[in-house]
């Protein structure tokens, strides 16, 4: 069995038709992980016993001829910022090194209810703060296409595991690009749904108004399938929207002819690598040949997206991460004698440099005397960015851009320059601020063979259209080769 070519779609058919058992499949995946993951380092925690138990349950159902759940036997990997009951969840941080959550994240629970089998928890930047996975307290992940390069971040482990074929699909989280950017770097599909489309219950909070859960998969159809089962209202998350979840699998089969595609000039300016530009423009041209109408649009406030993002995200993070105090769970410094010393030393020893840097920046932006100048100003800029998109979406059905300005960079290349690292998210942060859905789909590669992603942004709750367009891009590439 060639595990590398298995998709969600083909796996569930194979299990249903009993071409192999779910237990056998799970065992094969663990043997592949044992052989290949020591180099890639996509996984932080594995759960073979738990997975085998669940796989056998699927096989028992199949053996009796009982109806199988829709994702029966499909192996998935979960970014370690989502809590899993009884299974260690670290958020890539030393402060949660021994944290075994007492409940399940809704998105994970929904996947398991649909029959999917969790293989393990994937590596990520600490508290999802980073664009290269180098901020993990457990060491970096390397890009399966070139081991000297980063997989992107912060969902680097999830993207690398899908790309390396050590899982069939994965869940990631996206606060400023953390699903789409690693998807682009690793040559897989990454979908960030509309804010509110997927419950955030059980997602370890980074910036609550920006955090999203979404799938990383080998194909667009797989992303459509996974989204369908994790989406929808959840009583445990008041920001999860009460909006019907369509059958995305059917939606992607609709033709793209006649769709109006906005191309924003601000995303094709200075800083965009020439090779990335050429490949992305060719993908847009292909969509035009498929019958899409290309419309130049302007999103004039784009240059303010990164500054606004780093104020808002860090402000929310400084507040969210105040809970790590060494009292109820997580790391407690053994060196503290008083309560205030315990808070300080536990946080100091438990958090990594980038997390501390962001807590400091966020605390500053929220502090008295600076609140108006930074936090309030950034929130107003956020309104202007939202208006840019609202105006553009009067004229177009979706917007296409490069996902990233360059292909995957080298490990260590930006590790000492936080600002340069932040700019790796320059094309992705806006969608998080505005709450619209975005997908990165592979659209080509550089001459040395590094993947390049096309980003498609859609209207609120219109994941169907961006999935449909991404499906057309994928199909165009398949027929070209």
């Amino acid at each position: 069995m060639n595990l590398n070519v298995l998709t969600v779609e083909s796996t569930r058919v194979a299990i249903r038709e009993r071409q192999f058992t779910a237990a056998r499949l799970v065992e094969d995946f663990y043997r592949k992980i044992e052989a290949e993951d020591p180099v890639i380092h996509a996984y932080l925690t594995l759960c073979e016993d738990r997975a085998l138990q669940r796989a056998r349950r699927i096989d028992d159902l199949a053996g009796r001829g009982d109806p199988l759940p829709p994702l029966a036997g499909v192996p998935v990997a979960i970014k370690d910022v989502m809590v899993t009951k009884g299974l260690r969840s670290t958020a890539g941080s030393k402060i949660l090194e021994n944290f075994v959550p007492p409940y399940d994240c809704t998105a994970v629970e929904r996947l398991e209810t649909a029959g999917a089998i969790v293989l393990g928890k994937t590596n990520c930047d600490e508290f999802a703060m980073g664009s290269s996975n180098e901020n993990s307290a457990y060491g970096p992940v390397c890009n399966p296409h070139d081991h000297s390069r980063v997989p992107g971040g912060s969902s680097g482990g999830s993207a690398a595991a899908v790309a390396a074929g050590t899982t069939v699909a994965a869940l990631g989280s996206d606060t400023g690009g953390s699903i789409r950017q690693p998807a682009a770097f690793c040559g897989v599909v990454g979908l960030m749904p509309t804010y509110g489309r997927v419950s955030r219950y059980g997602l370890i909070a980074f910036a609550s108004s920006l955090d999203h859960i979404g799938p990383l998969t080998k194909t667009v159809k797989d992303a459509a399938i996974v989204l369908r089962y994790i989406a929808g209202r959840d009583r445990q998350d008041s920001t999860s929207a009460d909006v019907p979840v369509p059958d995305y699998e059917q939606e992607i089969e609709q033709p793209v002819k006649g769709l109006r595609l906005g191309v924003p000039k601000e995303y094709f300016g200075e800083g965009l690598d020439a090779e990335v530009r050429t490949v992305v423009e060719a993908a847009i041209q292909q969509l035009a040949e498929d019958g899409c109408q290309i419309v130049p649009v302007s999103l004039p406030h784009t240059p303010y997206a990164i500054p606004a993002y780093y104020v808002i995200a860090t402000a929310e993070a400084s507040s969210n991460l105040a809970r790590y105090d060494g009292v109820r769970y997580g790391y407690r410094s053994p060196r503290a004698k008083t309560l205030s010393e315990m808070y300080r030393k536990s946080r100091d020893e438990g958090f990594g440099a980038e997390v501390k840097r962001r807590i400091m920046l966020g605390t500053y932006a929220l502090s008295s005397g600076y609140y108006d100048a930074y936090y309030l100003k950034a929130q107003k800029a956020r309104t202007l960015l939202a208006r840019d998109f609202e105006q553009a979406f009067h004229k177009v059905d979706a917007i296409v851009t490069p996902t990233t300005p360059t292909a995957a960079f080298k490990l260590g290349e930006k590790a000492d320059d936080p600002l340069a690292m932040y700019l790796a998210d320059i094309y992705t942060v806006v969608a998080d601020l505005v709450g619209i859905p975005g997908i990165s789909v592979p659209c080509g590669q550089t001459k040395p063979g590094l993947p390049i992603g096309l980003q498609i942004l859609g209207k609120h709750f219109d994941e169907g259209t961006i999935l449909r367009l991404a499906h057309a891009v994928e199909h165009g590439r398949a027929s070209a080769t």
């Binding site: 409940y103 990164i306 309030l376 309104t383």
Partner: protein, 98 residues
């Protein structure tokens, strides 16, 4: 600032962070180029963000539920991850310092 954030930071970290944060704040300063006099702040995607609201509006109703008591985490479960506990409460070092 480190005090406000309940962080200690080593001398090295302090030097490094001052340098990093100054360069980041300088970059963030470009927000001051924007005239935002009549622009309302946007805290949440789900609230009306002052952009006319037609693409937002009623689609974004908050998920609400009735206020009915439901079973919560068992006491024992809630204490399981505690660094220190007497089986009934979380234990911390003395709060009142001499």
């Amino acid at each position: 600032m480190a005090d406000l954030a309940n962080l200690e930071l080593t001398a090295e970290e302090r030097v490094r962070f001052v340098k990093d944060l100054n360069s980041i704040l300088e970059y963030i300063g470009r927000l001051n180029e924007l005239n935002t006099d009549d622009v309302p702040p946007m805290a949440q995607v789900l609230s009306s963000y002052g952009a006319g609201g037609e693409t937002i509006g009623d689609k974004f109703a908050y998920a609400q539920r009735d206020d009915i008591p439901r079973p919560c985490l068992e006491h024992e479960e809630a204490l399981k991850n505690a660094p220190d506990s007497d089986g009934n409460f979380f234990k911390v070092p003395k709060v009142i310092e001499k």
